[in-house]
C-alpha cells in the first residue's frame, strides 16, 4: 500500500471515530476509556513482528517485552471493561 492509501484510511477512520464516540452515552465514558485502552494494544501486531524476527537479538528482545506489556493491556483492558459493563443494570430488569 502506498502512503496516500494509508493516509486515506487514517483520515476516514478519524471521521468514523468522531461520530461513533459522540454517540457513546456519557454514563459509559469510563468503560469507553478502558476498552479504547484495550484496543489500542493492537500495537501488539508490531511487537509480534519484532519478536518473531530472526537475526537481531536486541530487536526481538524489545519485541518480547512489548508483547508482554501489550498483552497485560489486552487481557486486563477487556476483562475490566466486561466487569464494569456487567454492573450496568436497568430498572425494569431489577
Amino acid at each position: 500500500m502506498d502512503f496516500i492509501s494509508i493516509l486515506s484510511i487514517f483520515v476516514m477512520a478519524c471521521f468514523v471515530g468522531y461520530y461513533v464516540v459522540w454517540s457513546v452515552t456519557p454514563a459509559l465514558h469510563t468503560p469507553l476509556m478502558a476498552v479504547t485502552n484495550a484496543i489500542s494494544s493492537v500495537i501488539v501486531v508490531g511487537a509480534l513482528v519484532a519478536a518473531a524476527a530472526k537475526g537481531a537479538a536486541a530487536s526481538s528482545g524489545l519485541g518480547l517485552v512489548a508483547v508482554t506489556l501489550a498483552s497485560i493491556n489486552i487481557f486486563g483492558g477487556f476483562a475490566v471493561t466486561a466487569r464494569m459493563l456487567a454492573m450496568y443494570k436497568s430498572k425494569k430488569k431489577g
Binding site: I6, A53, L64, I72, S90
Partner: protein, 485 residues
C-alpha cells in the same frame, strides 16, 4: 520500496479486526448493547494476533504448512510465554481492582501502551528489515523514519505522562500542582527540540538521534503532567488516552497495517472528544488545563479575607426525617463519595427512601470524580439502575420541584458563584441549580476545607441548607439507621 507484501487474506483479516473495533465502540451507545460490543472488540483483537502470528510463520516456498526449525519453535515458545505472562498479570489486575481505583488503573494501562509503542519503534529501528521499511540502498526509508520518530515520541510522552498521572491519582504523589519556574519556556523548547530531531532523523539515521528523541520525550511527558492538579485529571486521563491512540496509529503507518491505523484513529479521536467534553464542563480551554497550576494560588492565598457567616448544622436524624417527608430527592455525588467509598450505603439509603414512596434520582456532573464517567461506574457497582442516573442537562429543570438536593462529596459543581461571580475561578462552569431546591443537604467533612478550585460556596450559608459535617460514608450510614427506625 521493499515493503513486505502481505497476502490478500491477511490484509482482509486486519480490515475485519479494524471494523470489529469500530463495532466495539459503537456498542457503547447504550448499556444494553455494550456487552456485545466488548465481545466484538475481543474477537477483533484475536483476529489481529492470529493473523500476525500466521504471517510470521515460517512457510517455505511451495508449501502450505509451516516447517518450523527448532529455532522457530523456541521463538514461538517465547512469544506464547510473553502473551501468557501478560494475560495472567492483566486478568488478575482486572479482577482484583476496586472500582474506586479505576482512574489509576486506566492511567497505568495507558502507560503500558505508551511504553510498548516506544519498544516497537526502537525494535523497528534496530531491525528495519523485519518491518519491511528498508530502501534498496540499505537505509531506512525517510517517511518510515518520520513515522517511527513520531511514534516513539508520542509513545514516550504517553508513558511518562501516564506514570505521573497514576502516581497523582493513586496518592503516591501530591495531587496539588507542582510548578517549576520557567516551565512554559522549558516545555516549548523541549517540544521544538523533539520535532527538530524527528526532522533531523530523516537525514541522519544514527542511534543518537533516536535515543535523544526517546529521552527528551520521556522528560516532556513528565514535565507536562507534573503541574496539573488533581481535579483536572479527567482531562489529563482523556488526553493520554488520545495520545496512546496516536502512538498506535503512527506505528500502523510504519507497518502499513490497517487494523493499527483504524484503531489508532478511533482511540485518538475518542480521547480528544472526551478531553473536549471535560474542558467544556469546566468552562476552561484545553490550553489552560494543559498549562496547569489551576487551584494553586487560591489554596495558598485564601483564608485571611474569609468572613464568618452563619450556617446551620444538621444531624443524621434531622436529615432522615426531612428525607422521609420529601416527595422528590436528587442526589449529587462527587469525588468525596468515591474517596469515602460511600456508594453502597448511599444506594441503601435510596432504596429505603423509595420504599417510603420518595422519588429518588441521581445527578452526575460531567467532571465529577477523576475520570469521565467515574461516578456512573461507582453507582452501577452499587447496583443503582442506570435509568435513575441523569446527566446535568437532563435534570437541571427538576430542581425547582425538588424537595431535597442531597450533595455528597461534591462542591464546585453546585457552587452558584459559577453563574454569578465573574471574578470566580470557576465562573462560566455549568453547575447544578441546587439553590432552587426546598432543602439542600450538604455532606462535608468540616467547614474548613473548600472545593478544589479553592473558592467558598454560598450554598453553605443559605437558609434552606443543612450542613451534615462528617465522613460521607459514616453520615449516610447514620441516616440509613435513622430511616430504618
Amino acid at each position: 520500496m521493499e515493503h513486505v507484501i502481505l497476502p490478500a487474506w491477511a490484509l482482509l483479516a486486519y480490515l475485519a479486526s479494524g471494523v470489529l473495533f469500530i463495532l466495539a465502540l459503537r456498542g457503547l451507545s447504550s448499556p444494553a448493547t455494550s456487552r456485545a460490543g466488548n465481545r466484538y472488540g475481543m474477537v477483533g483483537m484475536a483476529i489481529a494476533i492470529a493473523t500476525t502470528m500466521a504471517t510470521q510463520a515460517p512457510i517455505p516456498e511451495g508449501h502450505w504448512w509451516p516447517r518450523p526449525t527448532p529455532e522457530d519453535l523456541v521463538i514461538l515458545a517465547k512469544i506464547c510465554a510473553a502473551i501468557g505472562l501478560g494475560a495472567v498479570i492483566g486478568l488478575t489486575t482486572a479482577r482484583r481492582i476496586q472500582m474506586t481505583a479505576m482512574p489509576q488503573l486506566v492511567a497505568a494501562f495507558h502507560s503500558l501502551v505508551g511504553l510498548a509503542a516506544v519498544l516497537v519503534g526502537l525494535a523497528a529501528y534496530l531491525n528495519p528489515h523485519a518491518f519491511g521499511i528498508l530502501l534498496p540502498s540499505g537505509a531506512i526509508s525517510p517517511d518510515s523514519r518520520v513515522e517511527m520518530g513520531l511514534g516513539i515520541a508520542i509513545g514516550a510522552i504517553t508513558f511518562s505522562g501516564s506514570v505521573i498521572a497514576f502516581l497523582k491519582l493513586n496518592g503516591n504523589m501530591s495531587g496539588s500542582p507542582i510548578l517549576l519556574p520557567l516551565r512554559h519556556v522549558i516545555n516549548l523548547g523541549t517540544l521544538l527540540a523533539i520535532l527538530g530531531l524527528v526532522g533531523w532523523f530523516t537525514q541522519d539515521e544514527s542511534l543518537w538521534v533516536i535515543a535523544a528523541i526517546t529521552v527528551l520525550s520521556f522528560i516532556i511527558g513528565f514535565l507536562l503532567i507534573v503541574p496539573i492538579g488533581g481535579a483536572d485529571m479527567p482531562v489529563v486521563v482523556s488526553m493520554l488516552n488520545s495520545y496512546s491512540g496516536w502512538a498506535a496509529a503512527a506505528m500502523g503507518f510504519t507497518l502499513h497495517n490497517t487494523a493499527m491505523i483504524i484503531t489508532g484513529a478511533l482511540v485518538g479521536s475518542s480521547g480528544a472528544i472526551l478531553s473536549y467534553i471535560m474542558c467544556k464542563a469546566m468552562n476552561r480551554s484545553f490550553i489552560s488545563v494543559i498549562a496547569g497550576g489551576f487551584g494553586a494560588e487560591a489554596s495558598t492565598g485564601g483564608g485571611a479575607a474569609k468572613e464568618q457567616r452563619p450556617w446551620k448544622r444538621g444531624s443524621a436524624e434531622d436529615a432522615a426525617f426531612l428525607l422521609k417527608e420529601a416527595e422528590n430527592v436528587i442526589i449529587i455525588p462527587g469525588y468525596g463519595m468515591a474517596v469515602a467509598q460511600a456508594q453502597h450505603v448511599l444506594r441503601e439509603m435510596g432504596d429505603l427512601l423509595k420504599k417510603e414512596g420518595v422519588n429518588v434520582k441521581y445527578a452526575i456532573h460531567p467532571v465529577a470524580g477523576r475520570m469521565p464517567g467515574h461516578m456512573n461506574v461507582l453507582l452501577a457497582e452499587a447496583n443503582v439502575a442506570y435509568d435513575e442516573v441523569f446527566e446535568l442537562e437532563d435534570i437541571q429543570g427538576e430542581f425547582a420541584q425538588c424537595d431535597v438536593a442531597f450533595v455528597i462529596g461534591a462542591n464546585d459543581v453546585v457552587n452558584p458563584a459559577a453563574k454569578t461571580d465573574k471574578s470566580s475561578p470557576i465562573y462560566g462552569m455549568p453547575v447544578f441549580d441546587v439553590e432552587k431546591a426546598k432543602t439542600i443537604m450538604f455532606i462535608k467533612r468540616s467547614m474548613g476545607g473548600v472545593g478544589y478550585a479553592g473558592v467558598d460556596n454560598d450554598v453553605f450559608y443559605m437558609d434552606q441548607t443543612m450542613m451534615l459535617l462528617a465522613d460521607a460514608k459514616k453520615m449516610v450510614e447514620d441516616i440509613v439507621k435513622a430511616l430504618a427506625h
